[in-house]
């Protein structure tokens, strides 16, 4: 909200951010990736975008399931649109099908006669990055896996920051026994080996998307709390806070209107790194087999497969490539943000 009120300082920061080319283009790329992943159903899907059949138009992507019989096929289960397309072409009755660029969904097993998955990349079969060990399209799994990972880490960020900022600034602002108490809590908390806790929990119950976020947030808030507490302590001693108090501003007004806006640079600079941290955490949990339940498309699971099937290079290299691109762009954005928010304009970071 505060950042939206474009005061000259903010405009200056944005300008500076834009001037850092590497970070800015990374930002554009990242936004593009996230936005397109939200419309992944239109790009990567086994359901057709448009089917024209006997004078009617169908849009299967956002419809419920169309059984094969609907299009003159002889089965009751979901239409295989790739076959339908071929069939319409052969019949040449004026019916047609438009498929998404990648005509596979992340769950279906595209298995072949006399060959065994994983299949190498093939443009003819439109498996642009090949398939995994049960014949699922890797690109499809990467795209949907990315969507899950990014939403996961953004939500996790929200939770972590929500708890961290409110508690941290309260600790820093009120100080005293309240601060002392939560310091001890944090010290104890931070000694709980969180990876083991997750492993234990997920070996008993398979965590769903939201429970996994909750579990991770349970341990993730500590870092932010510590930082914000320190920054608040510093800000609290400044004259403007004193002035605000002298004018009779309430505690909450001082915290939310004065202190937090002045700590925003800290909050914002940490954010991109927290996002990449979230992605890595989810990926590593999935890699170890303690993450989201199969068959959820996940990068960690692909990484695991890449490790087992070393000789099927396309599995490992696709997922490592995708991870590298994502993490590098996020990091570049983070760097640029940090630099843009840095009051000392001409400093360099190593």
């Amino acid at each position: 909200m505060i950042i939206m009120r474009l005061n000259p300082l903010t405009i200056k920061k944005i300008k500076r951010f834009k001037s850092i080319r590497r970070g800015f283009y990374s930002f554009l790329l990242l936004v593009l990736m996230i936005l397109s992943s939200f419309f992944a159903e239109m790009l990567v899907n086994s359901r057709a975008l448009i089917v024209f059949y006997n004078g009617n138009y169908y849009f299967p992507v956002y419809e419920s399931m169309n059984p094969g019989v609907k299009f003159g096929l002889d089965y009751d289960y979901e239409t295989n649109y790739r076959q339908l397309q071929k069939r319409f072409k052969e019949e040449a009755k004026g019916n047609w099908v438009i498929l998404p660029p990648v005509p596979y969904n992340p769950y279906e097993n595209d298995l072949r006669e006399d060959r065994f998955p994983p299949f190498p990349p093939s443009f003819a079969e439109k498996h642009y990055l090949g398939t995994d060990n049960v014949g699922r399209d890797i690109l499809a799994r990467l795209v949907y896996g990315f969507r899950i990972a990014i939403i996961f880490s953004l939500l996790l960020l929200l939770f972590d920051y929500g708890i961290g900022i409110s508690l941290g600034s309260a600790m820093g602002y009120f100080g005293g026994k309240f601060d002392l108490f939560f310091q001890r809590i944090i010290e104890i908390w931070s000694n709980v080996p969180f990876l083991y806790v997750i492993i234990i929990i997920s070996s008993i119950v398979v965590p769903s998307f939201f429970t996994l976020i909750l579990i991770m947030a349970f341990f993730g808030w500590i870092g932010m709390t510590w930082t914000i507490r320190t920054v608040t302590y510093k800000e609290k001693a400044r004259e403007y806070v004193l002035a605000a108090r002298a004018l009779g501003a309430s505690n909450s007004r001082i915290i939310f209107r004065h202190i937090i806006p002045n700590t925003i640079s800290v909050i914002v600079t940490y954010a991109p790194f927290a996002v990449s941290g979230g992605i890595v955490a989810l990926t590593s949990l999935d890699y170890l087999g303690f993450g989201l339940a199969p068959p959820t498309p996940s990068w960690g699971e692909l990484l695991q497969q890449g490790w087992i099937h070393m000789d099927s290079w396309w599995i490992g290299s696709s997922v490592i490539g995708a991870m590298t691109i994502t993490l590098v762009t996020v990091t570049f954005v983070g760097e640029a943000v940090r630099e843009a928010f840095d009051p000392k304009m001409y400093s360099t970071y190593e």
Binding site: S64, Y77, N109, G289
Partner: protein
Amino acid sequence: MKRLKAEFTNSLQSKNLQTIKPETRKREFRVNMLRMMIKTFVKFALVAGIFFLHVPSYAAAPELPKDIKWLTNDSDPVFASQEAKRGGTLHAAVMSFPMTFRVVGPDSNGSFRSAILDNHLSLIGIHPNTLNIIPELATYWAFGKDKKTMYFRLNKMARWSDGTPVTAGDFAYSLEFMRSKHIVAPWYNDYYTREIDRVIVFDDYTLAVVATKAEPDLYLKLGIAPTPAHYYGKLDDNFVRKYNWEIVPNTGPYQMSEFVKGKHIIFRRKNDWWGDELKYFKNRFNVEKVIFTVVRDMNMIWEYFKKGKEDEFGLTIPEYWHVKSKTPVIENGYVHKIWFFNDTQQSAMGLWLNQDREIFKDINVRYAFAHAMNVERVIEKVLRNDYFRLEHGFVGYGKYSNESIRARRFDLEKVGYYMRRAGWDRGADGIWGKNGNRFSVEVTYGSEAHTQRLVVLKEEAKKAGVELRLQNLDSTAAFKKFLEKKHDVAWMGWSTSFRPQFWEHFHSANAHKPQTNNITNTDDPEMDKLIDAYRNSLEEEERIKLSVEIQAKIHELGVFVPTFMVPYVRHAYWRWWRFPEIPGTKHSASLFDPFGSMAGGLFWFDEKIYHETKEAMKKGEKLRPVTIINETYKMKSITMKIE
């Protein structure tokens, strides 16, 4: 109860210890389950308080009944090769060092245990092909009229490894030992109290073992193993600590000679073993030395094997057989591959439907579920046609198996037929629905490696309008869930026993309550009647008839969808190892089992070929690659072609 014959089945299954199991995960899962089961029963026994105080095992001046008929067996075919030569060293890997060398008491239930136990022979053995009784420590045996007693006459040649003769007293001592509180083994305490009544010593070489109740297949229970009385003497509280790393005298062909904790264990062949000339032991147990080295990682073992530091490697997993074995040592012919079909009890692996779930109460829905599982496609496309369709839960039990049962195949029309008959309709999402319920069930499993199979089943089931939700838990957590009957569908396999066990899995006495093996909650009066009759019958013919009938009934109830079986063993081995013409037996679980008294130790080391191969390797000479496929004992129901 399932493992009441634990001791005996151990040798029957001849656990292949020297090698890393190809199906390690699956077996581990089963071993875990087994432990849990044993624990469960121990708990039961404690709770029920069934602990009798017993009459002393030594009865005074007993007399041998006059009217018993002594039997022996020297007419069954031998299965070892006359060409076998003595010598050489077998290098094998174990994934962890045993926690103790004791075979009873705390921490003794590790996988290495059977390497030690296999060298402790019993009174009698079972022929691995004919399944008739054959002599081990006893040369003659006889059945008592009461159907509870068996009489044995010991082989006077039988010696402990320290040279002391094996006498009837050692068997009486077994009972005392196994019932002792000092061994801290409640399961054995209980078993040797509740199942074996007493051992009667007539003279040093004649004895009788008496069961607590009349039972079919008595010889499986009464052919107990001796315990060296002269070695242990009187037991005390110190037992568990004192015997952790002691090498106990044994009666088998090998004895442990040295070990370095955490590193390796070496077994040496006894030079003048008393059993060398016995018909069924002759030309067996040929290697001079067996070295078990600890290697903690499967991939490392494979690498060691390729370097020649291990002699064999199990190749049962399709990936290893088809892909990883495309490696120079095999392509250059230094290492051979063998695929040997056996014909032994198959684990009941598959999907177990919980009938306490509302949806599975309707038999039509259960049938439809079975027809919605495209197991064939998984076998074809994921398992490379290497696994075979299990037709029912009791395959490989000889006459006790009902060979006419065929598992329900994937069939969309039948799914539709049964679902409509049950009053369900296909919903807008293609999944069957009725009164707001969808045909969506949770499939719980305990092995990450099986995900690959399940995702294919899931996608195929969707075509049939059935949604599977996969839940992968840690193997113990999964098994706990099954025992507590909290699953919709359990994906698991049971360990096998010598004869089919029905009561545990299908009798209503075990339904609707936690911690029993009836995970389908089968509760059918007719089934109960059949199972009770089977359990009470002492007539083999009748039991076979009932067993076949019960299996048909299980199929009819449709509570179990059988999936896969692996009726073979596969190995890669350095070419200087040789086998008999028929490399194994019907019941071989490994061709490189060095000790197993039933079917182990058939292979031998050929020194000439060893030097020849080393020479060729040095010169970089290529030899002919060899893959042996032996189908002598292949089950008749398998029609798939092997290439």
